[in-house]
């Protein structure tokens, strides 16, 4: 993909180079631009007016946006809403659909080829979690730009304000303002109320276990390390935290635990995951005999089984999805979100970040600013059900009203209930350990002592 882009770039350059030599005007204007490194320093030092950034962005002329392309709704919204918002500044938007891990690969490869600021392939990318951490750990980010955009006033970014946490930490990694919140998501359990009556809907993992024993084979979760499955295991780990502090210890880096402490913290959760195995989809239905439980390998496989009636619950990120999926005919009409578990539903934000080798850094800043306006976020919410990245309390009254009136139906829950249950996600490196433990202890059904399994996974992540 990256190589194709290069070939196209070379061909275009070969074609237009002779033209630009004669055209003169445009070439001279381009020559007047400061070197990109100097632009970065002056911008990050706050020495540039926003108008100067826009002028430079127009001279750069285009912007390369890389985003996960798996949602048709989002792809369409980008065309009808994001494109005009960005192109009104005279910048051409090139939206590239990709897998986020692959985008990180492109950025790394550009860097390995010695391409610095102004020379790479990616201007900005929709990102979060471990992918962001990889870029940050490798010093591949443009810098702390988020609070220098004009739209930053709609976001809690003050480190002393607890409401800023979700904007300043991404899976436990401090963002240090190197990425701008773009959307938020909460991990919700959905149930078909035609199959599970409302008064029987479980509220805790203990109640869920009882329900599973009464209805064996009607529940499933995605296999970690796929993130929908991984988040399920994290949710169990919060709820079964033996210290009763739910999410709190899971914010720390693995180094802050001894392997023994970590094993103690995770033990009840994994004991639970083993206990429910016989009653999962494909399980034996008999105590102590797991049978061959089936862990779907992808979120769409889980969703397909829910829609096809094989299981009665499903889990995904996105509180407005239920409404969208019902309208699209993918979910039964009677599907609802549930507040589960009451001990905490993981919520996080996803972000827009600029790599350190962005070919058009000023255009990237202008484009991110254009995608960070309250109007753009409300449009994304109303049109395609992507929850707000901006912080609603900071919005003008009239927009708050519009949100109340036009946001998609939350199907069975209220915004207050959801935000009351909200807890942060797990430290990205702890996620690696938990996934590794799951693979050995649950998938592989290892008979080694649990503490040894945790210690090996801890060592693999910490000792490098």
């Amino acid at each position: 993909m990256c190589r194709n882009v290069d070939i196209v770039a070379i061909l275009i350059t070969m074609f237009f180079l002779p033209l630009s030599l004669f055209a003169g005007g445009a070439a001279e204007e381009a020559a007047v631009l400061d070197p990109p490194e100097e632009f970065r320093e002056r911008f990050l030092a706050g020495e540039l007016e926003w108008d100067e950034v826009i002028t430079r962005a127009q001279a750069e002329g285009e912007v390369e946006f890389y985003h996960w392309g798996g949602s048709e709704a989002l792809n369409n919204w980008l065309e009808v809403s994001a494109r005009p918002d960005i192109e009104q500044y005279g910048i051409r938007l090139n939206a590239n659909r990709a897998d986020t891990g692959g985008v990180v690969d492109i950025i790394l490869a550009d860097d390995a080829a010695g391409r610095g600021l102004g020379e790479g392939s990616v201007d900005f990318v929709w990102i979060n979690g471990e992918n962001f951490r990889t870029l940050k750990d490798n010093d591949l980010l443009f810098g702390p730009f988020a609070d220098k955009l004009p739209t930053s006033r709609y976001y809690f970014l003050d480190p002393d304000d607890p409401r800023s946490t979700v904007n300043l930490f991404d899976f436990g990694t401090p963002t240090e303002l190197m990425e701008m919140p773009w959307s938020s998501a909460q991990y919700t359990f959905r149930v078909d109320t035609a199959r599970v009556p409302r008064d029987e809907v479980p509220k805790s993992f203990a109640e869920l276990e009882e329900w599973m024993r009464a209805n064996p084979g009607r529940f499933a979760y995605v296999a970690p390390p796929q993130y929908i499955g991984s988040t399920f295991v994290q949710t169990v780990a919060y709820a079964k935290n033996p210290h009763g502090t739910t999410y709190e210890p899971f914010q720390n880096d693995p180094e802050e635990f001894t392997p023994g402490e970590l094993a103690e913290l995770l033990d009840p959760a994994f004991a639970y995951l083993r206990r429910i195995e016989p009653f999962l989809l494909g399980g034996s239905g008999v105590e102590d005999d797991p049978g061959s439980p089936l862990y779907p390998s992808s979120a769409s496989s889980l969703e397909g089984r829910f829609a096809g009636g094989e299981i009665d619950f499903t889990q995904e990120f996105g509180v407005y999805d239920v409404d969208r999926e019902i309208r699209a005919g993918n979910y039964p009409e009677t599907t609802e979100n549930i507040i589960f578990p009451e001990t905490g539903m993981i919520a996080n934000k996803s972000f827009l970040a600029i790599p350190s080798n962005a070919p058009n850094p000023a255009a990237a800043l202008v484009a991110i600013n254009a995608l960070s306006t309250p109007e753009s976020h409300v449009s994304k919410l109303v049109e395609i059900g992507y929850a707000l990245g901006v912080d609603a309390p900071l919005l003008p009254d009239e927009l708050q009203h519009r949100i109340e009136e036009e946001a998609p139906d939350l199907r069975g829950v209220t915004a207050e209930e959801l935000s009351a249950a909200e807890v942060p996600d797990t430290n990205a490196r702890l996620v690696d350990i938990i996934d590794e433990v799951w693979l050995e202890y649950i998938a592989e059904r290892s008979t080694r002592p649990f503490a040894d399994i945790v210690e090996d996974a801890w060592t693999a992540v910490v000792d490098r």
Binding site: G308, A443, E444
Partner: protein
């Protein structure tokens, strides 16, 4: 005198002619050598660039030279130790061999049988042999989708059995996909590979003159003996070629086991990719160690197989 003069002139002429001819021959030889090199270049070049290059790169990375991923501990056996020291590797190896060997054996036996059958003419045989080759143009992924549509627990067959009242709910249908048994994986392999083997063996068989069989039969050989001592040795090259290709594919294929296999255990290529996709890039050399080990194991197996075949050919030639 004149005669002798003449003859000496001829001799001289001949000697001179010899050296010209020798030079010409030598030149020809060089030209031919260069031609061979030039003609091999595309194939060898492609092999070097597309196969040997990446493999060398994988080898370097697996030994700790991966500056792209910020790993520069070359040379280090650390990644191999981690791979070979985990029980998951050995269990995956067993399943990889199982998913590779079973369909190879079945498709070879069935493919040879079908090729023998189709070598005869009967009513509709042309249509049948055309129809039979259709799976060859269907991609493996489409084959996987078909297997899911038919054999999943909510699939077509389960629904039909449910509608007929043979099973109480679609969930009671025996689990063919996503289980360690790997029946789904092997079904897709067989769907593609039986026609493939049939085609390769069939085209070799078409080159075997029918007289051999007729002579053997007139001399009183049974059908089995005719096959065993007359036909089989002649189609052996086709059998070996097709089974090598089929085995190499089955051993190294990733997408079918990933789509239709169990979460665990699964094959080595699936484990390799799982490690490659860990967001922490510093662990990618571990995936490369997997890749190298996979290449070595399948290389050794194919080498032994070919060696065995060569020995078989030699023993036949000697007999």
């Amino acid at each position: 005198m004149l005669n002798s003069n003449q003859s000496s002139a001829t001799r001289n002429e001949t000697r001179r002619g010899d050296s010209v001819a020798a030079r010409w021959v030598r030149k020809q030889r060089i030209v031919r050598g260069l031609t061979i090199v030039a003609m091999l270049a595309p194939a060898v070049g492609t092999l070097l660039v597309l196969y040997v290059g990446p493999l060398l790169l994988a080898l370097l990375q697996s030994l700790g030279h991966a500056p792209l991923y910020r790993v520069t501990i070359f040379p280090s056996a650390q990644f191999y130790e981690r791979v070979l020291g985990s029980s998951r590797f050995w269990i995956s190896l067993v399943y990889t061999l199982y998913y590779a060997f079973v369909p190879t054996i079945i498709s070879t036996v069935v493919g040879v049988g079908l090729a023998l059958l189709m070598n005869r003419r009967y009513w509709g045989s042309r249509f049948f042999s055309f129809f039979f080759r259709l799976p060859l143009v269907v991609p493996y992924l489409v084959g996987a989708a078909m297997v899911v549509a038919l054999f999943a627990n909510g699939g077509l067959i389960a629904r039909i059995l449910f509608a007929l009242g043979i099973i109480e709910q679609t969930g009671d249908f025996p689990r063919i996909l996503f289980s360690a048994g790997g029946y789904g994986i092997m079904l897709v392999y067989l769907f593609k590979q039986i026609p493939f083997t049939t085609m390769v063996v069939g085209s070799v068989l078409a080159g075997v003159a029918p007289e051999y069989e007729e002579v053997a039969r007139t001399l009183g050989a049974t059908r089995w003996k005719t096959f065993r001592y007359v036909i089989l040795p002649r189609i052996m090259p086709g059998v070996v070629t097709s089974s090598i290709l089929v085995f190499a594919f089955n051993f190294q294929s990733y997408e079918i086991p990933f789509l239709l296999g169990a979460t665990f255990p699964n094959t080595l290529p699936v484990e390799a990719l799982r490690r490659f996709s860990v967001p922490d890039f510093t662990r990618r050399p571990e995936a490369m160690a997997y890749v190298v080990v996979i290449a070595v194991i399948s290389g050794v197996i194919l080498f032994l197989y070919l060696k065995g075949y060569r020995r078989y050919e030699q023993s036949r030639g000697g007999a």
